[in-house]
Amino acid sequence: MKEYGRFLWRCFRLSFVGDWRYYSWMLLLTVVALFGLNAWSKQFVHGLITTGMTDQVSWGLYISNFTYLVGMAAAAVMLVIPVYIYKHKGLHDLVIFGELFAVAAIIMCMLFVMVDLGRPDRFLHLLRLNLPSSMLGWDVIVLNGYLFLNLHICGYLIYCSYRKRKPTWKFYIPFVFIAIVWAISIHTVTAFLLVGLGGRPFWNNPIIVPRFIASAFSAGPAFIILTLQVIRRFSDYKVTNSALGLLRTIVTIALTINQFLLISELFTELYSGTAHSISLNYLLFGLGDKNALVGWIWPAMIFNTVALFLLYIPASKTMIGPTSLASCSS
């Protein structure tokens, strides 16, 4: 136990060690975080009105970031599956990275939900969840479960490596497999949260659920590729080309599926042109003089398409930045 405390303390110490680039990056992030804290303090005092949200647009960037990051966290499983199911060698050392990434993403998810609450001081009321009927209640459960699973798995493996012990399989392998299914569940439940609303025709659409998964499995690994590229350039940590190549294949497949589902959705909505498609019309073309989202959705769709073409060009060996950007548009 004492040894474990020492281990945690040394991990903590280690997070303050780096060269000038590391310090400048951390300083930059700290400054951004402090600006965020300052904005949240103002919001806490004056209410959510400071975000510009209204009764008409009652969920905004907080919830979209939350949704996006749930996808990111779920996508970490794309590092886990090749290693534990297909015994992929190149990714083996990166599994821990994926799990830590998931932990970070989940913590950010929870923070985004916290700042979106009108009464964050009442978060303890979440201990009295309205189950089984509330999908937000289920989301609280699956997100916390995923957080603990990942904390346990990577915590155990890193601690074993710290103690120079060989990890005992039964302390982590069963959890790895639970976590694989659990990862899909977090983004599925988050999609259910939206598609279950009969009063919102645009969301009340079963294709949203597989699209959530497909877009997460393209955006997540795409982001991981970018991160690994940075790690490879600026540290002596070895990231093999085969690892990046596999992630790239995953992105290509997931993005293709996502595009296919998107086309199916667009066709169904636009060809039938019923009242059901009015939200999509607003998103794509605007309704009357109301067109705030038109300028966002088209670049997103163009990035998506360009990314897909780039990925299919055999010569494009270098990993593609726009992929991660484009896949955000889920």
Binding site: T30, S58, V140
Partner: protein
């Protein structure tokens, strides 16, 4: 040598300066919190139980606290009660679209009765001005501004909470801060709501309103007749909605929106009593509910009364 033992004087100083700078930066970032109005926050409220788990004594204490806080804030001593539903009552509303003239008197009577925020304005009733020849609410305009109503090319459709029997807002709430009472009224516990706004997203009728900032009501406009589950003043960060004026209707009175209606378009009563006016309307008129296909089972019915048109024309 391990890093722990290698704390030189210089690195210690550097760490201390860094830590002090960090603390100062965090303090500066948090500085807006000094403007927080803590007068309406209390430990009692923080520890308060869920409505359904409170005993009579717990509730009495809560009502006393609310009365005290309202008095401190608005200098009016209110009477705050926890009014329970009556047995054998299921409330329903029926609105005659043939009569409504779109004057919005109901909107303002509702605001006055239910202590809604005047700044920013919160209103539970929306009146849609609809072009004749369609009943598609997407063609409705609730921002109409005319010197005189009704306009001859339009009809008017007031929308408020439909008090659904299968209310999507209730099932989505993660903390059961909103529920449907035995008499059919969907209520919000303003002391339990965490402000996630999921119910607002779930409502097909846009009947819920969120306090994006601290509601403001002039002291002279406070309605001192208050109930815990309806019109007691709310605070920022919680959801609110129409409660069929339960502090009135559970004592046999009519909702404020009905009382003020100059043309008698609104009808309210007990559906469980087949002789009541609403029950009679449901039996005899051709009624409909909005967005019936969503199967939310509203307790708010619309109808067009043919008699109204007869008055305009020659008597038969």
């Amino acid at each position: 040598m391990s890093p722990e033992t290698d704390v030189s004087r210089r690195s210690f100083l550097r760490g201390a300066v860094g830590a002090a700078g960090g603390v100062a930066a965090v303090a500066a970032a948090l500085s807006p919190l000094k403007d927080l109005d803590t007068s309406q926050l209390s430990v009692e409220q923080f520890l308060q139980k869920h409505y359904k788990e409170m005993s009579k004594e717990d509730m009495d204490k809560v009502l006393e606290r609310i009365a005290r806080q309202v008095e401190e804030r608005h200098h009016v001593r209110p009477e705050v009660r926890d009014i329970k539903p009556m047995d054998g009552v299921e409330f329903a509303y029926a609105l005659n679209l043939g009569k409504c003239i779109g004057c919005r008197k109901c909107v303002h009577a509702c605001v006055a009765e239910n202590n809604q925020s005047r700044s920013p304005e919160i209103q539970y009733i929306r009146v849609l001005e609809m072009p004749k020849g369609s009943i598609d609410v997407e063609k409705g305009n609730h921002h109409y501004d005319r010197p005189e109503v009704p306009d001859k090319d339009h009809f008017y459709m007031p929308i408020q909470c439909h008090q659904c029997a299968d209310a999507p807002c209730v099932s989505v709430c993660p903390v059961e801060a909103t529920w449907t009472e035995p008499d059919g009224i969907t209520v919000v516990d303003y002391d339990w709501c965490i402000g996630c706004r999921y119910c607002e997203a779930a409502c097909p009728y846009w009947a819920r309103r969120f306090n994006f900032s601290e509601p403001e009501i002039p002291d002279k406009d406070i309605n001192p007749n208050m109930a815990y589950l309806s019109n007691r003043p709310r605070h920022k960060g919680v959801m609110e909605k129409c409660t069929f004026c339960l502090h009135r209707t559970r004592e046999g009175k009519m909702p404020a929106c009905l009382e003020v209606c100059p043309v008698g378009a609104r009808h309210f009563g007990n559906l469980a009593d087949s002789k009541s006016e609403v029950a009679q309307i449901l039996q005899k008129k051709r009624v409909f509910v909005l967005k019936e296909e969503l199967k939310t089972l509203p307790r708010f019915y619309y109808f067009f009364d043919e008699d109204y048109y007869d008055e305009e024309e020659q008597p038969r």
